[in-house]
């Protein structure tokens, strides 16, 4: 029965065999999870953030657990563009699924430089623009909270990535996320991903200091899922549906039901993040669970489910 169900996704022109991707920063550069699952069973892979120069990241502690979630302040630690090209790309080239490279930087020029260098790589399906990281002093979220800057940076990176897909990752730390979404689309975004983490703090009551060395970190995990579902639905209804721009929904997904919620809210695809830390093969289990949901609900094409929220009562 489940063989007859089409859960493939046309994501801004990229064919995904299924709607489940790995979220940036939670699944390494390429095949770190290969010991735990068949990577080819994923719909797609999103690398951790790549910056022009290598970044050490923040001092420790970099994480702290909360009820139903965790805070992280890694600080975009990564090997930098050159080592990514020489060490990680060869592994990515062996992967049989679409790979999106998450790009971060402190200036627009840095984002553009990383994208320009990588756009000629055939094996890269597209880019995810990280303008929503809450854990670095410069760049990151400071771009993502100002619509005029969102337009500018998206336009610059879109010009650099040529025909490759550009996904813009949105922060929830704004009054109206639809405004940011509109700005990204105006700048040329092919798709939107939402949401990044929420800035948060945990205090050690013995020392009266923040637990994280960075003081604050980004809250992720099941705790943020209902907010993420709401924001995906808001952006879908107010912006993305009419503009025909697909949404990659993420924030606290760890079950197939969670993933289906995002799809009903308006996401064409979803990404699994924090849950992979606990259950490394979580994403593959969710793929199977989505098929079962479709079978049980007589859905032959997952695309029919996208944005199918039954709007009852006042919006």
């Amino acid at each position: 029965m489940t063989e007859l169900i089409d859960i493939s996704v046309d994501f801004a022109g990229v064919r995904l065999a299924n709607p489940v991707l790995t979220a940036s920063g939670t699944c390494g550069y390429a095949d770190e999870l290969a010991d735990f699952m068949d990577m080819s069973a994923l719909g797609g892979f999103i690398t951790k953030s790549i910056t022009l120069e290598p970044r050490r990241g923040n001092p420790t502690p970099r994480i702290v657990e909360t009820d139903a979630g965790m805070l992280n302040a890694i600080g975009l630690a990564n090997v930098g563009l050159e080592r990514f090209v020489t060490e990680k790309l060869p592994v990515i080239e062996t992967m049989s699924i679409p790979v999106f490279v998450n790009v971060a930087g402190t200036t627009i020029d840095e984002y553009v430089a990383v994208t320009e260098r990588l756009t000629s790589q055939e094996t890269i399906a597209g880019f995810e623009l990280n303008i929503s990281c809450p854990n670095v002093k410069k760049g990151g979220i400071s771009f993502g909270t100002d619509p005029s800057q969102v337009v500018e940076i998206t336009r610059a990176v879109k010009a650099a990535c040529e025909e490759k897909v550009l996904i813009v990752k949105l922060t929830p730390a704004v009054t109206d996320i639809s405004e940011t979404a509109r700005a990204a689309i105006e700048g040329g975004a092919d798709a939107l991903s939402l949401i990044n983490t929420f800035t948060a703090m945990v205090i050690d009551t013995e020392t009266r200091r923040p637990v994280l060395a960075n003081r604050t970190g980004g809250l992720s995990g099941p705790a943020i899922k209902p907010i993420a579902v709401y924001l995906v639905n808001k952006v879908y209804r107010e912006v993305a549906k009419e503009a025909n721009i697909p949404i990659l929904g993420l924030g606290g997904i760890r079950t197939a039901t969670d993933a289906v919620e995002f799809v009903i809210a308006g996401a064409s695809a979803v990404a699994v993040g924090t849950a992979s830390f606990v259950e490394p093969d979580c994403a593959v289990r969710i793929v199977e669970g989505i098929k079962s949901y479709c079978a049980e609900h007589n859905i032959t094409r997952l695309s029919d489910l996208v944005g199918s929220l039954d709007q009852v009562g006042p919006e």
């Binding site: 390494g28 999870l33 951790k48 990241g57 657990e65 965790m70 890694i74 630690a77 490394p280």
Partner: protein, 316 residues
């Protein structure tokens, strides 16, 4: 290291709890059984490697069974796995058993105490790099601080089984008698003979025991007794090695002592970590780059948890 040894494949396995009971005042000892692929993966477990245990599904004990100082914090839910190093691993024909010796100190470990014979527990491992035993060593000095005991005990067994020519001495420290992660009676007679910690005595390894308050063994820091031993024994640098696991301040002190005596020293480090498999990048340890003033962050989970003490810049 036998020639047929290859890096074992890590994985996500379900272990069966064989037993789970208190060991000392703040510790529990859980015996686990792996079968099939898990048995094969853990048969290759090296002392110092670790596992990530999912305790989120286990229930809380009755309120009066929870240590009073943990009753409030235990109301918190557990999301992430917790890292532990096995204290003993035994590969048999069709199964591999492991001893998980854990300190009861928060919402996850309190939940773990409710597991009992027959229960299933989800384990990711074996992870990281364990201790190595360089060629030509004739003396191994094992230094344990409090809950750092498990990987050192596992190493003691390996040294006894595969390196009988290496003379081994254990230095065990804790704040108090109650904070000692060992079972068995610390009787005065065997103490005088130098075999005061049963967990090491059973491998024929003499030990020096020290507590901060003198409630067990001698009073003082374990590192003071390491220095005293080194002062009293002929110990050619190339022939001796120090292995340590415990609080970071102790590891830093052991590293300084090893440097002073020009001894090789391997330390098992700990950091807050989410995944244990290199995804989250949270368990950073600042390390020296060879022939350079620069430092880099290595990952405790992937590059460690065992590091050459000379490489590590210890946190204060």
């Amino acid at each position: 290291m036998p020639e047929e040894y290859t890096t074992p494949k890590k994985g996500l396995f379900t272990a069966t709890v064989l037993s789970n009971r208190p060991a000392g005042e703040c510790f529990y000892k859980m015996n686990l059984k792996f079968t099939d692929a898990g048995a094969r993966a853990f048969a290759a477990f090296r002392p110092g490697q670790f596992v990530q245990v999912d305790a989120s599904d286990a229930g809380l004990p009755a309120e009066d069974q929870i240590p009073p100082h943990l009753r409030d914090v235990c109301k918190r839910k557990v999301l992430l796995r917790r890292p532990f190093s096995f204290a003993d691993v035994t590969a048999e024909e069709d199964r591999t058993t492991a001893e998980l010796l854990y300190c009861v100190l928060g919402p996850a470990s309190v939940r773990m105490t409710t597991l009992s014979n027959g229960d299933a527990i989800s384990i990711v491992g074996p992870l990281g790099n364990g201790f190595s035993i360089p060629e030509g060593k004739k003396t191994a000095l094992l230094v344990v601080g409090g809950m750092g005991a498990p990987p050192i005990r596992c190493l003691a067994k390996l040294l006894t089984a595969e390196h009988a020519d290496i003379e081994t001495v254990a230095f065990v420290g804790a704040q108090t008698r109650g904070a000692l992660p060992f079972e068995g009676r610390l009787d005065e007679v065997s103490q005088n003979l130098g075999f005061c910690v049963p967990a090491f005595a059973k491998y024929g390894i003499p030990s020096v025991l020290a507590t901060d308050d003198g409630s067990a063994g001698s009073q003082g820091l374990v590192t003071e007794y390491l220095v005293q031993w080194l002062d009293q024994h002929e110990c050619p640098p190339k022939e001796a090695i120090v292995y340590a696991c415990g609080p970071e301040a102790m590891l830093a002190a052991v590293a300084r002592i090893a440097e002073k005596w020009s001894l090789d020293c391997q330390v098992s480090m700990e950091r807050r970590m989410a995944c244990g498999i290199g995804l989250c990048q949270s368990c950073a340890i600042e390390c020296r780059l060879p022939d350079s003033n620069e430092t880099i962050y290595k990952l405790c989970c992937q590059d460690g948890p065992v590091f050459d003490a000379r490489d590590v810049i210890f946190e204060r």
